[in-house]
Amino acid sequence: MFGELIILSAVLFAVGAVGFLTRRNAFVVLMSLELMLNAANVVFVAASKQWGGPEGLASVLIVIAIAAAEAAVALAALLALFRVVGTEKIDEWRALRG
């Protein structure tokens, strides 16, 4: 079971990475980031059971909190940027380059 869960986490991480790299909509890109963090949580949970200790589960809670904090700031920044440039499409943000 442990091995299968690791595979699940790897696949989720990879799906998150693909979403992060290919989607133009910034909201979906941010969701992909959440997917990647969740993939790590799966590893924490699986390993926590095998080790027979609750530390990994406590780690999950902390990771969730980090994800929440990041999501809040990211969405606020996205709103601010949207107000200025009028688009949420990632590849149209090209004021900074070179």
Binding site: F13, F20, L37, I66, V73, A74, A77, A80, L81, L96
Partner: protein
């Protein structure tokens, strides 16, 4: 419990600043005073606790050693400097400076936590607390396109790096049964799950490499450095890099067991030095140039670390402290010349600055010669120790790459000075109003950079203790 004194002190001052700062937003001097008050208070608390040689691991997975203290002092000092520069900067660029003060101090708190972390998850939390306010500070001029875009890019890529780091720490947990560094070392000794642990460490180091702007994880750097308001660029270029490298130095203790990781470090160092220096050659915007130079300097700092010796750690720490001073000072100087956000930051805009403002000109000469690594500045000493450590560790060719690329780098640093002393055409930067606080801050940093070049031993003795402590933790 003694290990808690520092974070608690930092937290208390953070909270005080949060509560007080909106009261003082109206006046320029108050902003600077809040920063200085916080800095002085934290440093005073630090003075009350005995300075530590060696390394003390508390039950709370906190490490109180000289490395943590140096990181904290640098972070506090740079924050104070930022306060001075911001106080002048916000006249032409009004922004929520009360909140900004709170955010800077929160970032300093995060830097301390990260530097004291004896646990991978705690290290992530600390770095996150150091970075999150910087994301916001980048975009704090939120109705201008470049800062807003820079913030968003920083958040997206920073989130990606956090994801990789968290995944790495999850693998470490799976292999070691705990995220504490001690447990990880013990697991390395027993060796059953060594490669998983190494993979976890490597992923973790990748995230740190992102924060330290090491190529190829550096690509956010120029965009974010250019987009962010210049005083906050000064802050992040010094503090975030310092924290990331403090983390790398903590991880460094593992390399004693895993010497093969050396190759990854060498590769990162070479790519960073080459990419950073060559890309900086063709920039017109000084902030972007300094961003690429920041990448190159990250490479130089990695050079001595690749040896795996204690001397390497000493040299890297020495370099790191000086880089924090030089870089913050250089961005402060750009901020001096900047009017409204983004106006006055190209090479052309610096024309005749040194002629018109001799004191700033002198600072510029010191800082940019230091960045270029020309004696008698501290930048030369930093490069000297770094490359010497590499040669002593048998990596003479890596030192040669460093020397050659720093020759390339000398070109664009000198370009700044040449423009600063060129007459005739008028600079477009707004130097009309006197920016007394900025000048004072930049001058102070320049003098430190110069003093450490003339007398490097005073700093070297300190970082030696720090390096010993950091390595002692896990052996």
């Amino acid at each position: 419990m003694k290990a808690l004194v520092l974070p608690v002190a930092a937290g208390v001052f953070f909270l005080i600043a949060v509560m007080l700062s909106p009261l003082f937003t109206g006046r320029r001097w108050w902003v600077a005073l809040v920063y200085l008050f916080a800095a002085a208070g934290v440093l005073a608390v630090m003075g009350l606790t005995r300075p530590l040689a060696g390394s003390h691991v508390a039950a709370l997975r906190l490490v109180d050693d000289a490395l943590a203290r140096i990181a904290f002092i640098v972070a506090v000092a740079v924050a104070g400097f930022t306060g001075l520069v911001v106080a002048d900067y916000r006249r032409a660029n009004p922004h929520a400076s009360g909140e900004a003060t709170a955010l800077v101090l929160a970032s300093v708190t995060g830097a301390l936590i990260a530097a004291m972390a004896g646990d991978f998850l705690l290290l992530i939390v600390g770095i996150e607390l150091a970075s999150l306010p910087v994301y916001v500070l980048t975009g704090i001029l939120r109705n201008r396109p470049r800062p807003a875009e820079g913030a968003m890019k920083y958040i997206l890529l920073g989130g990606f790096a956090t994801g990789v780091m968290v995944y790495g720490s999850a693998l470490i947990y799976a292999a070691a049964g705990s995220t504490s560094m001690i447990a990880a070392v013990n697991a390395l000794h027993t060796g059953a799950s060594k490669h998983i642990l190494i993979a976890g460490l490597a992923l973790f180091a990748t995230g740190l490499a992102f924060k330290a702007s090491l190529a190829p994880f550096h690509m956010w750097t120029p965009d974010v450095y250019e987009g962010a308001p210049t005083p906050y660029t000064a802050f992040m270029s010094a503090v975030i890099k310092f924290v990331a490298f403090a983390g790398i130095i903590r991880l460094f203790a593992f390399f004693a067991f895993v010497t093969e990781l050396k190759h990854i470090i060498i590769a990162l160092a070479v790519i960073s030095m080459v990419w950073g220096n060559f890309a900086a050659l063709v920039q017109d915007n000084v902030k972007r140039m300094l961003a690429y130079s920041s990448v190159a300097h990250a490479g130089y700092i990695l050079v001595p670390l690749a040896t795996g010796h204690k001397e390497g750690v000493v040299a890297a720490l020495f370099y790191l402290v000086l880089y924090a001073l030089m870089s913050a000072g250089a961005f402060g100087l750009i901020s001096y010349n900047e009017g409204e956000e983004g106006k006055g930051v190209t090479f052309e805009d610096l024309t005749a600055l040194g002629v018109k403002k001799p004191l700033i000109g002198l600072c510029g000469v010191i800082l940019f010669f230091a960045l270029a690594g020309v004696p008698p500045t501290g930048g030369f000493m930093a490069k000297f120790y770094a490359f010497k450590a590499a040669v002593d560790g048998g990596l003479w060719w890596l030192a040669l790459v460093g020397i050659f690329t720093s020759m390339v780098g000398a070109y664009y640093y000198l370009k700044v000075i040449v423009f600063m002393y060129m007459k005739k055409r008028e600079g477009t930067g707004s130097t009309g109003n006197a920016k007394v606080l900025t000048v004072a801050g930049v001058l102070l940093l320049s003098l430190f950079v110069l003093a450490y070049g003339v007398d490097p031993k005073s700093l070297l003795d300190v970082v030696k203790v720090a390096a010993e402590g950091a390595l002692q933790l896990l052996y």
